[in-house]
């Protein structure tokens, strides 16, 4: 199945929850913010969300800014 990750299509080859998916992308899970289908999801909810085809994910982090 396919999900949209930060605007580009990403393949998900097996069933996984959001936490597993993010880990597979080698992200520092402590410092990222995730929007799942336009809804902000808290860290403790990540392993309860099973990815579905066509899900839309936005993964953000803090960067330098003024």
């Amino acid at each position: 199945m396919e999900v949209v990750l930060n605007g580009t299509v990403a393949n998900v080859d097996k069933e996984m929850n959001l936490w597993e998916f993010l880990l597979s992308k080698e992200l520092d899970l402590e410092t990222i913010i995730v929007e799942y289908n336009e809804v902000i999801v808290k860290k403790q909810e990540w392993n309860m969300i099973i990815l579905q085809d066509k899900d839309r994910l936005e993964v953000l982090k803090f960067v330098g800014g003024g």
Binding site: L5, N6, G7, K25, E26, L27, D28, T31, I32, I33, E35, I40, K42, E58, V59, L60, K61, F62, V63, G64, G65, G66
Partner: protein, 255 residues
Amino acid sequence: MDQLVIGGRSLQSRLFIGTGKYSADTLIPEVVKKSGSEVITVALRRIDFNSPTGNVMDHIPSGMQLLPNTSGARNAQEAIRIARLAKAAGCGNWIKIEVISDNKYLLPDGYETIKATEVLAGEGFVVLPYISPDLMVAKQLVEVGAAAVMPLGAPIGSNRGLKTKELLRILIEEIALPVIVDAGIGKPSDACEAMEMGAAACLLNTAIASANQPELMAEAFGMAVAAGRKAYLAGLGRSEKYASSSSPLTGFLHN
């Protein structure tokens, strides 16, 4: 003890600093230390999976008040979304509203900023909106619950100093909230002047980040802001003398 209180937090330093444009984020801890600053801004961005970068948060000393901004927002709705995301990241409830729909001069959009401030203040955010020094916009921001107003001294990143001085002066006089001069400050003397005028604080980024020695410049700004504040508290001496004996207006009172 002179303190600035915003959103229930007491601050000793009246210098807010940004984290953008540094040649290396590893400079940030020393810049923070030398500046004495307690409030630091960060931005929120989509992660670019093609070119991973370091994490700015790793370089921000603990205990700093984080002030995420909504840069990138072109309207109130986008700013509100970014603010909620920033809060979800667990970095507190402060937010700098920055809505810019003008890519040519990067001037803030007052109307959208007011709308975003109203919604976010209602949700319990400590909202610090970045604005052009427009009295009517500032008054409406007071009405809708802003915690401070942050007028620009000159366009973002221009390092041109207090080009809007006369308008800033009016905001400082008329607005009961802290007036924090944001953007445009190029030199420590600009920051000092803003503080002498009665600004509550200064927020700056480019002037420090783009200096040859950012740590040294950070220290200079810390001192300039503190000096300006002290001068303001001390009460500046009079600059004009009004006595004139040539044509007294009150002579008739002595008859």
